[in-house]
Symmetry: C2
Subunit: 158 residues, 2 copies
């Protein structure tokens, strides 16, 4: 009797676990989308500021200030819940995430990289609306802070 | 001679215009992605808060405060550049955008709807971390403000 029921019991266990697994996958999917959305918004605002710095877009003090304020607010967003374990490139594959698993072992360094960006973005917000020279001087450290975190925690892009 | 050159001149004009058209399409594409990213982040934070309000997620004052602060910061992001004309459902098709063209005729009402959300989200940020009752009381007006703008300016979803 025990033997005959074993396959049924195993199937029942799997069925019982399925909603929990689906829920976990949904949580990870939403977390990845949220952090990628945040990066898209960093990039949207940096695109305008970078265009001005390179002289491709005419400098506009108000627009520069808005974009730099946005960037400062976005980099200050609390990212709790956006980086659940199991949301790395090795687990999800490179089409879904470029996040390196080292994020979950070097947690202090990861937090430091993020805090460094928040700090320089806040400084940049105080400068970008002053004049083009201030924008040009301030955007370098922001790009450097973005790059530092990518260097440490993101799969190299081709 | 003039007639013989006409087709060439027309082709040359089209070639000259092509980069400008591509640039415009790229600008619209980036704007749509930016505003959709913003909505994804609204939803990510509201998802946690809504889960707590419904009792599906255990109330955690700190997590609630973080999420509501995020939401307030996100709704205060300056959206200049995110809503260029020609980025509506009729121009881009429903797979790319649900934005109704009326956004560009009822500009004052559109701004009012957004400002209303910014306002209630700021109030909610002051309440969500107090206790579960305050969260429950505050989340209604936020959802209502989201819905009001969708009702006015977004294609009905199936």
């Amino acid at each position: 009797m025990k033997l005959a029921l074993a396959p049924f019991a195993a199937a029942a266990l799997m069925l019982a676990a399925a909603p929990a697994i689906a829920q976990e996958a949904d949580k990870i999917d939403k977390a990845v989308k949220a952090r990628q959305s945040l990066m898209t918004l960093y990039s949207f605002n940096l695109g305008l500021l970078g265009g001005m710095a390179k002289g491709e877009i005419a400098y506009d003090a108000e627009a520069a200030k808005h974009a730099a304020d946005n960037l400062a607010a976005l980099t200050a967003i609390d990212q709790t819940g956006m980086w659940p374990e199991g949301s790395d490139i090795e687990t999800l594959g490179e089409k879904k995430s470029a996040a390196l698993p080292v994020i979950w072992t070097k947690t202090a360094e990861f937090a430091e990289d993020r805090d460094a960006l928040t700090k320089v973005a806040a400084e940049f917000a105080g400068a970008a609306g002053t004049d083009l020279d201030a924008l040009k001087a301030g955007i370098g450290p922001v790009g450097k802070a973005c790059g530092a975190c990518h260097e440490d925690f993101r799969q190299k892009q081709n």
